[in-house]
């Protein structure tokens, strides 16, 4: 079955730097990949979706790449701000109506 691996260690970066988070999957290439943001005690909020035939997607300071050869997606936040501190979840097409979520990576941006 499909498995998602996100770095369980928190990522600490300085304000203004680019944060890069990694999502690796182990099995079949998904039809799409999504990234969500989750703040403590709240539900996840959708950020971006990238499809299997797309290599890169951008939205404001966010950029997502999708490499089906490496079975990996990278999520970048440029010019990071303390308000970007949150947990970021990677999610993949699980077949049919299902989406499989990773455990997330915690990001801390220091002022």
């Amino acid at each position: 079955s499909q498995k998602i691996e996100q770095n369980s260690e928190a990522l600490n970066i300085q304000e203004g730097k680019t944060a890069t988070l990694t999502c690796n999957y182990t099995n079949y290439s998904p039809a799409y990949l999504q990234w969500y943001r989750q703040d403590p005690g709240r539900g996840p909020v959708f950020l971006l979706l990238i499809r299997e035939n797309e290599k890169e997607k951008r939205k404001e300071r966010l950029k997502v790449t999708f490499d089906t050869t490496l079975k990996q997606s990278l999520f970048h936040i440029t010019a990071s701000q303390p308000a970007d501190s949150a947990t970021y979840l990677c999610a993949l097409d699980g077949g049919g109506f299902k989406t499989i979520f990773g455990a997330g990576t915690r990001l801390f941006v220091k002022a």
Partner: protein
């Protein structure tokens, strides 16, 4: 502003009790989902529904049941609560999607933190 609401933010129940978690969405979405979230395990799908009165088991349905009598409401039922069901429960909804695939983003509720003593 689109919204998914859950009946309780925090709930404390005793072992063996029957527990109802309610979820309501106001976006006219076809799909609704129930997940539980535990540290280090991510979101795990319990049940989902793609239409009124339709339901499909997710990855961890044991000990749970669901009900969808109206399009906007999806209920999760713990038939006999146990301590290993202590968790954060998240409801989500989404549009049906193309060709039966869940391409569309999911909108989540705020979650219910359930503690079973």
């Amino acid at each position: 502003d689109v919204k998914v609401t859950q009946s309780s933010r925090y709930l404390v129940k005793r072992t063996g009790e029957k527990v109802f978690l309610e979820c309501v969405q106001d976006m006219d979405h076809e799909n609704m989902f129930w997940y539980r979230q535990d540290p280090g395990l991510g979101l795990r799908l319990i049940y989902f529904s793609y239409d009124v009165k339709m339901k499909e088991k997710g990855d961890i349905p044991e000990g749970y049941s669901v009900s969808r009598e109206k399009k906007e409401r999806f209920s999760l039922i713990l038939e006999s609560a146990s301590t290993n069901q202590t968790s954060m429960y998240l409801c989500a909804s989404s549009l049906l999607g193309l060709a039966g695939r869940a391409y569309n983003e999911q909108f989540f509720g705020p979650g219910t933190r359930l503690t079973v003593l």
